[in-house]
């Protein structure tokens, strides 16, 4: 019996056949699981993006976890997805090489805007949002919804202490030039005074993540500079969402 078994297991055709069957069975298993769970996963991802958008805008209560319905409701009343053409004009629908951004509004009065961030990280892309106040130079918040950084090290870009750092930073220097906002190596308080407004505390053990994210932020902000200029020109004045879209 055992000799028999040995011989059929050595048969090449049997080996190939066995490999094929195994491959087929397990690919069906994976495909089924992936297809069946896809709707749930997409829901999670969409909700996660919205939550992060709201976090960047500072519209999410920090002491508790809001329910999915709450997120959706806040999103619908305060956020409007718009696009901007290369001259910085805000459009309702995407056109040519327009840039995507989000307006933050309360009762249709524009409070600020949110720019999607897509930056290189140490292990993969970092995706997040950077929110600005309506003056077009003060950072209102920062959040990350997808990254592959090392948990506990670069992964700390997800944590509240890191993201809270961005609030109130300026992307313009004293002579109104774009300097972006960067991640310092170590604590901001050790930097020269005139740089403190443009840097946030770094993460120890994640120097490279910080460097790549700084580069990514600068790149994005340079691209969105035309939009920011539009907001800077309106400095202080109340603007209605519809008027911005009409101009």
């Amino acid at each position: 019996m055992s000799d028999n078994k040995k011989s059929f297991k050595k048969n090449r055709i049997y080996v190939v056949f066995f490999a094929l069957v195994i491959a087929l069975v397990f690919s069906v298993l994976i495909t089924t699981a992936a297809t069946m769970l896809k709707p749930l996963q997409q829901q999670n991802m969409a909700l996660d993006k919205k939550t992060n958008l709201l976090e960047a805008a500072g519209l999410v209560p920090e002491d508790r976890k809001p329910s999915p319905e709450e997120i959706k409701q806040i999103y619908d009343t305060h956020i409007r997805e718009v696009h901007a053409d290369p001259r910085g004009q805000i459009l309702e629908t995407p056109a040519g090489n327009s840039l995507q951004l989000y307006l933050i509004h309360t009762d249709q009065q524009v409070q600020g805007y949110i720019v999607p961030i897509s930056s290189r990280g140490l292990w993969g892309k970092i995706h997040g949002y950077l929110a600005f106040e309506q003056d077009g130079e003060t950072v209102a918040g920062f959040s990350v919804y997808s990254h592959s950084e090392t948990p506990g090290l670069g992964g700390e870009i997800e944590s509240n202490w890191f993201q809270d750092n961005f609030k109130g930073k300026k992307i313009l220097n004293a002579s109104n030039q774009l300097v972006s906002v960067g991640i310092a190596k170590g604590k901001v308080e050790n930097l020269p005074d005139k740089l403190q407004d443009h840097y946030v505390d770094g993460i120890s053990g994640a120097t490279l993540t910080g460097r790549y994210l700084s580069e990514g932020l600068e790149e994005t902000l340079t691209k969105y500079e035309t939009v920011s200029i539009i907001f800077r020109q309106k400095k202080g004045s109340q603007t209605n969402v519809e008027t911005i879209l009409d101009e």
Binding site: K9, I30, A33, Q41, P151, E158
Partner: protein
């Protein structure tokens, strides 16, 4: 029935304690370093790994009479990888936040030596029920170390337990500081080393013949 039960108990004790995969076999160190910064990630990782170890043992052992020996490693890996991918998909669907924090480490269960090691050393030579229990036991043994390391690292490194601050403020006022090194990989090395030392110096567990 009684002999059966004590037989499973034997396998469990062996996997969890006497031949603990991390502390005795020194396997699975990579993820033990990586996901032990916080308790919450360590718990989910432990559950995921234990389930994958148990079910891969079960499946591989059920197939062991039909698996051609010259492609057995490939077959074992196919089984393990499929289970891991399914686990990852389930986590993404039901525990999205945690799955984001675990990121690549769930996927890396595939290359975790504990699972392939148990498949090769145990499941290929024993019956499905035993293999299931053996996989579970080794998963739990791994979990035990993982949770102990995560507990110490989260407590000493961030002063927290499951994300709640547990170190009273007056200690910080008196000058206590979180140990930064505990958040980094070397901290895990020290703790795992100390745990292995502690476990193997307990009376009656040392395997070294003196």
């Amino acid at each position: 029935m009684h002999t059966n039960l004590s037989h499973y108990k034997e396998i469990l004790i062996k996997g969890i304690w006497r031949e603990n995969p991390v502390a005795y076999q020194v396997l699975g160190i990579c993820s033990a370093l990586a996901v032990t910064v916080k308790m919450s990630t360590a718990v989910v990782m432990s559950i995921a790994l234990s389930l994958v170890a148990a079910f891969s043992g079960l499946i591989i052992s059920s197939l062991r009479h039909w698996i051609p020996s010259n492609i057995r490693i490939i077959v074992e890996l196919t089984v393990i990888a499929s289970l891991v991918i399914v686990t990852d998909q389930i986590l993404k669907a039901y525990l999205y936040d945690i799955s984001k924090q675990l990121s690549i480490f769930v996927g890396l269960i595939i290359t975790n030596c504990i699972i392939l090691g148990r498949a090769e050393a145990f499941a290929m030579a024993n019956n499905p029920a035993d293999s299931f229990v053996d996989g579970l036991a080794n998963g739990l043994g791994y979990s035990m170390i993982l949770l102990a390391v995560a507990f110490l690292r989260e407590l000493l490194g961030s002063g927290q337990f499951f994300g709640f601050s547990v170190i009273p403020q007056f200690l910080y006022d008196m000058g206590f500081q979180d140990m930064g090194i505990m958040v980094l990989a070397p901290g895990a090395f020290f703790i795992i080393g100390l745990l292995v030392w502690l476990k193997n110096s307990l009376p009656g567990v040392s395997h070294e013949k003196k």
